[in-house]
Every structure is written in structure tokens, then in C-alpha cells.
Symmetry: C2
Subunit: 152 residues, 2 copies
Amino acid sequence: MARKLSTLDPQRLDNQICFAVYSAAHAFNRVYKPLLDRLGLTYPQYLVMLVLWERDDVPVKEIGEKLFLDSGTLTPLLKRLEAAHLVKRTRSREDERQVMIALTAQGHALKEKARSVPQSILAASDCSVSELVAMKDEIIALRDRLNAVIGE
Amino acid sequence: MARKLSTLDPQRLDNQICFAVYSAAHAFNRVYKPLLDRLGLTYPQYLVMLVLWERDDVPVKEIGEKLFLDSGTLTPLLKRLEAAHLVKRTRSREDERQVMIALTAQGHALKEKARSVPQSILAASDCSVSELVAMKDEIIALRDRLNAVIGE
DNA sequence: GGCAATTAGATTGTGTGCAATATAAATCGG
DNA sequence: CCGATTTATATTGCACACAATCTAATTGCC
């Protein structure tokens, strides 16, 4: 009876999906860390590289839209990637407000070294691909509903 | 056909469950922010308060275990909660290594003001409670499998 | 009992995230 | 075509996260 009450209490930590998501994100980060250390990347830097490996030479804005990050986060991060010789930042000629981000040869080459990362994560997840895909789609749908609320 | 290939490419951003979780965590944070601003709390501080509202007067270690956070994160956070007069930090008499965290009267009182937060989040999720509970359980199971790998 | 190993927190340094603000370039309305 | 607004990025300040290191207290082992 006491147990039944507590499993329904919305103010209990264990009943909050947000904490589940929050703590899962940190768990992923900890699994990624040793893999990304070998590449010399942090996880957010890895995300930026994923964007660029899909489509090179994009404005900061586009990276921000794909990753849901703003310039306050991206500007210093991109400067660090530039200092690591993985990307080049250039003011766009057509629109001087934009800064275009392009991979260097090293940045391109890193894609190969990163190829094994996803399967290591899959192994750590200890879960079938189809289950993961289903979860991913649910989580993305939830995220998009949340983001819709933020825009009012 | 090209579409089929890209939906299978494990190096694509959209195919990564980790990014789904990462971006959902940020989306949650943005929904929580205005609600928690009224309480004068950040989201991690709110998590600590949730722990204390369940069980008061616990060592830092126990908070860390429940939230998967270490002293490097908790020490300054708890000092800020103390500065806000929500908790009191006291060295344990029995074990001088431990610092016990106890709610102040203000800290206790805040629980009432926070009562409406979970339902606001539920509304923003735009999703049935049973669906959310199912997702939460799946995500927690995944998190626990990931954390198991980290311990080797 | 005494010394090594362990444990709990604190500290330092680096890298996000994000709000708020600043700046410069582009666009829009009259 | 000119001033007002909008847009893209940069900057500043604050609060996490976490690795690495440090200190002090406790436990284990002989």
C-alpha cells in the first residue's frame, strides 16, 4: 500500500522521465568518453563532426539548428576544433554575417577513425538494433513535442 | 535507395539513440527552466531537492549515488543551496569524513511550491502517463546496462 | 597498536550549455 | 535610398559535469 502510493507519487525521483533521460545522457557520455578520447574529441565536438561528415562547409547556424545549440556554445567549441586543425572557420563572402565551417583534410580523415564508435556503443547498449531504433524514434518524438511547447 | 542507405548508416546523426537522448535532455531542461526559475532552482539543484524531500539528512555520497554525480559537481552545488538557505551542511559526528545534508524549514516548505512542476512537465510532454511510464522504464533499463559496462 | 589501503569530500582545470548583451551585416518599409 | 528591424555570430557570466589531485578520517591487516 505504501509502495503503491510511492510508485504513483509524481514528485518521486524514480517516477520522473526527465531524470531517466538526464541520467541516461550522462551514462552515454561516460561510455563515449574513452572512445572519443582516442579521437581527441569531446561528445559535443563529436556531434559537430558528425554534422560535417554528412555535409561539409555549412554555416554555424545550420550546425546549431541540427544540434539544438546556440552560438554561445558553438563559437568556443568550433574555435577549439579549429585549434585542433579539424575545421576551418571562414566568413562567408555572400553574407558577411555568416561563418562557414569546413573540414580540413585531417577532419575528413577522422571519419574513418571514428567508424567503429557506433558499434561500440551498440555493444554497450546490450540491446537489439530494432529495440534501439524504436526507442530512439519515441524519444525524438517526445523531444520534438517538448521543443514545440518551448516555441509557445 | 539512397534514402535506404542513409537510414541505415550508423554514423548519421539521426540514427544515433545517444543524440536522441542528449537532445531530449536539453529539451526537458528548457521546459523546466521557467518553472524552476520561480523556485530559484536549477535543474540539478531541483534533483537534489527531490532526493532530500524523499529522505532528509543524508550524506553527500548518497545524493551522489542516486543522481550519478560526484563531489566535484555536488560540493559547489550544495554550497549554493546552502547559500540560498535551503539546506544545511554539517560534518557527521560519527564519521568525520561525511558531510550530512539536511533541509532547512525553507527547504521543506519549497516542496509545496514545487508540487505543480511534474504536471506541467506532463502537459508539455503531450503524451499519456502510461506511455511516459513505459518509456521511462525502457530508458532506465538502458541507462543501467550502460552503467554496468562502465564498471567493466 | 600501527601502518597501508580505502573512503568521503574538497579543489582545480577544462569544456560545455545557456541567458543576456553586443556588434556588424543584411533586409524591410516607407 | 535611408532608418528601423532582423539576423548571424561573438562575448560575458554563471552553473553544471567530470577527470585528476589533495586532504583528512576510517578501516584492514598483521
